[in-house]
Amino acid sequence: MRNALIAFTLIVLSPTLGQAQTPACDGLKGEHAALAKKILQSEHPYDCCDDTIAACLKKKPVCALVHRLAENVCGRVSRGQSETQVRRALSRRARSMVSMGKKAQIDLKDASGVGKADAPVILVEYACARCPYCAKITPKIYEAVKKGPLAGKVRFYFKTFPIRGHEYSKETGLGFVAAHRQGKFWEFLLLAYERFDAFCIKKQVDWAEEAGMDPARFSELVASPDVRAQLVESKKEGIVNGVDATPTFFINGRKFVGELAIEELIDVLEEEFDRASGVTHRR
């Protein structure tokens, strides 16, 4: 009788235990479910558990990273990404998060930051004021850090890296430094990025005034050799740290080489926060 009960329990519960146990994975059906299963059964997490992601998901308590990676894989599959794309994204994420290389030396003394001052995760972005991609992603990160899912977890710094191929990258880069010196960096950056397509160099001073700066002082700073020198130092530091395109992100000193999408960035920053806060397993 006891054996029958055990057998019955196993039969009833085994399909449930066999499921992926993450919301994104449980919601998959048909081909998507099969593809996610195939990937989860062959890829390994880069930390926390030595088995495949699928096998690690069955171990209790589940590693926070394993759950996060499974969600990531299933989310990608549900968005229609191919097997190659998903595997490549996992590999690049692993390279970013467990980089063994030397940490970047970043001087944050003269950089504008937002977010909790003693947050355990430091995110640094090197970006060009005239880079369309930066104009899209930077305000999203700002929002996430200021009042979104990264609030209290991440301190976000911006370093100007003018791309020489972009028209007016120098002038707008000087404008960013001038705004920083007047304590209106984020106001000016958000305005300049919001109106990215409407930019013309003559408007820069008007925008500075709109962002709350003294226009005369702004123009003076933009023309100052000292501001230029600061911009050059920022660029040189970026080059030394291996920046060759914008935006380039560093998470606690490690270059992020994963997918440059806001969802992915938020996910890896939350992962880093878990790690820094000692959260290894889900309850």
Binding site: C128, P162, R164, D244, T246
Partner: protein, 176 residues
């Protein structure tokens, strides 16, 4: 020249070429549709979601290779030397007959300067370009080398350690 002045073979040739082009376009289009039909990740004919190109912006430049300051290629007659340091420093000291093309981290090198450089390289019949800069980290020589290489000039090298590594100790204030 009026239409009737065209030789017959030319108008006939144009007509045939146009017809062939249309036939080829239709055939290749058909092949594309068939391949797409059997492809596991079909490309939709009409975009089903807003498509946003989100491509990081690269710093323009090509590939360069580093050379030691004692590399024999430096002494070769087939080497064209470029000094990436500011004009004042170039005036004070230069390696052999290097041409000065000052590198700036913010402003791209003027097109006219790059064109002049390309002409001089072509005239000299050099087989390679060797750039030296301030030898700092980052090194202006390496950066200018990348810029030159990105403009289509092949075989561009830079000197590791830049001008301080090339300059004889007696002229270097012992900084070498």
């Amino acid at each position: 020249m009026s239409k009737s002045d065209h030789p017959g073979w030319l108008t006939a040739g144009l007509g045939t070429a146009t017809r062939d082009a249309v036939v080829m376009a239709l055939l290749l289009g058909g092949v594309g549709i068939i391949v797409n039909f059997f492809h596991p990740e079909k490309i939709p004919f009409v975009a089903d979601a807003e498509y946003e190109t989100m491509v990081p912006c690269p710093e323009p430049g090509g590939l360069v290779e580093g050379l030691g300051s004692d590399d024999p290629l430096l002494k070769s007659e087939a080497t064209f030397l470029v000094d990436a340091r500011p004009a004042e420093q170039h005036e004070q000291w230069k390696y052999q007959d290097a041409m000065n093309v000052p590198y700036d981290y913010l402003d791209p090198t003027p097109e006219a300067t790059l064109l002049d450089l390309a002409r001089r390289i072509a005239r000299s019949k050099s087989q390679r370009v060797v750039v030296y800069g301030d030898g700092d980290e980052p090194d202006t020589g390496e950066q200018l080398g990348k810029e030159i290489s990105g403009h289509g000039i092949k075989n561009v090298f830079f000197i590791r350690g830049g001008a301080p590594a090339l300059r004889p100790e007696s002229e270097n204030g012992g900084e070498r």
